[in-house]
Symmetry: C2
Subunit: 254 residues, 2 copies
């Protein structure tokens, strides 16, 4: 069942769990029983087309989406056709774990690229909160990490200019992707369009284009054909006023 999907890009069933465990174990120990419980509730990944709506705002939900491959965004459409993305999700992220308690979403989850998603039933999560409270707290932690990202984005949108805002986003993605072995200090794949970036940082794609040129010409970063190449990570972080503190990369009893 798990290995039924035969397309070349199709991920293995355990990939999502592996990356989720990398993310959780960076913050606290997960023992064998907890790991097994987690693996047991993760269904085989399903493919979602690029640009499709994975979870629609407002719909009653009984499962959450663990992203195995691809990039998801949480997105809000405005009356006038503009949209704002409030978080970018990478493999190993639950895109809507908060729906476990909220029971519906306040924003759409959309596939920014082709994605593979493992669904996790809320009933299984409830079971975890009752049988394995520490693992339950680690899942709670996971939604609180999302909250920390949200706050950092709020600060960016409220107080950084366009250059620092984009620089900050590219710094954030570098660290988060590193955690799941998808980036190093020099470069990483980020298969988004400039319009996608614009919807993350609250600018127009035209202005994002100009700012990306500026970042390139200043020898900081290059974003081109879905890849980020960092020329000077120290200067980039200084320009962005970036610190890893809000990403909670330290291991502690939780």
């Amino acid at each position: 069942m798990a290995t039924n999907a035969r397309e070349p890009t199709s991920p293995r069933a355990g990939d999502g769990a592996d990356k989720l465990l990398l993310k959780l174990r960076l913050r606290d120990g997960i023992d064998a029983e907890e790991e097994q419980a987690l693996r047991d509730i993760i269904r085989p990944p399903e493919r979602m087309a690029a640009r499709s709506v994975v979870v629609r705002e407002g719909v009653p939900l009984e499962r959450s989406a663990l992203l195995v491959q691809g990039i998801l965004g949480r997105s809000k459409d405005m009356r006038d056709g503009q949209r704002q993305i409030s978080e970018i999700h990478i493999p190993g992220d639950f895109a809507d774990l908060h729906s476990f308690t909220l029971k519906r979403l306040d924003q759409d989850v959309i596939a920014l690229t082709e994605c593979w998603i493992s669904w996790v039933p809320h009933s299984a999560l409830q079971d975890i909160t009752e049988r394995l409270p520490h693992l339950g707290r680690m899942l709670w932690l996971s939604t609180n990490l999302d909250g920390a990202l949200h706050r950092a984005w709020t600060v960016s949108l409220g107080r950084r200019d366009a250059l620092a805002r984009i620089a900050h986003l590219l710094c954030e993605m570098q660290v988060r992707l590193s955690v799941v072995d998808m980036a190093d200090e020099r470069s990483y794949a980020l298969p988004l369009t400039q319009s996608d970036l614009a919807e993350c940082v609250g600018l127009t794609s035209v202005h994002v284009n100009r700012v990306l040129r500026e970042l390139r010409e200043q020898g900081l970063v290059t974003f081109r054909s879905g890849r980020v190449t960092i020329h000077d990570i120290d200067r980039l972080r200084r320009v962005a006023e970036f610190s890893t503190d809000y990403l909670f990369l330290d291991k502690r009893a939780r």
Copy 2:
């Protein structure tokens, strides 16, 4: 013990719990055992001076702050002296419940007015996750509601102009304060300065001043001497593109 504080503004010990319970019971039932467990872990409120830092970013924490009276903000200082507030807290809110899993904060919690705070030890919260998993999920829900506010603010900062942004904030506060019986449809107390507002919506206080005049002259809202008077809530909400959906005001099994 609980009634020791004698100043006229000093709240009773149970006030914080009462408002927290109003907030939680709006979303799901809390039975007598859960209510008692919650009341048992809430310490008598302590007074914090206006403009003081209640919880400092980065400091290891073993307790969370339940706001009983006053207004708190989550605030990030920038290098250049600017700051951004990412959430406003009202009585009945935990200002840093996320520190239960994160163990420190990514932003300061500051008192925007004189505040009374009840501290709740993390050990007691851990106990709840182990003994009363449903109540634990309700606390998890509470941090997820914060997340929904964060996302709404991100959308505001990214895609609304100054007028709509301030209108949206005033709409949000009206609903949230109503939940804890501190607002009606026409008016509510909001003892903030125009600079505080500016730090919430990512503008300067000068521009906030001009926009408040515009809101007043359009017959939408008046914000004056710490009080918001809503002249036309329907038009105000339309201008703000405000919907209560993201506040999750519905009762459901969670």
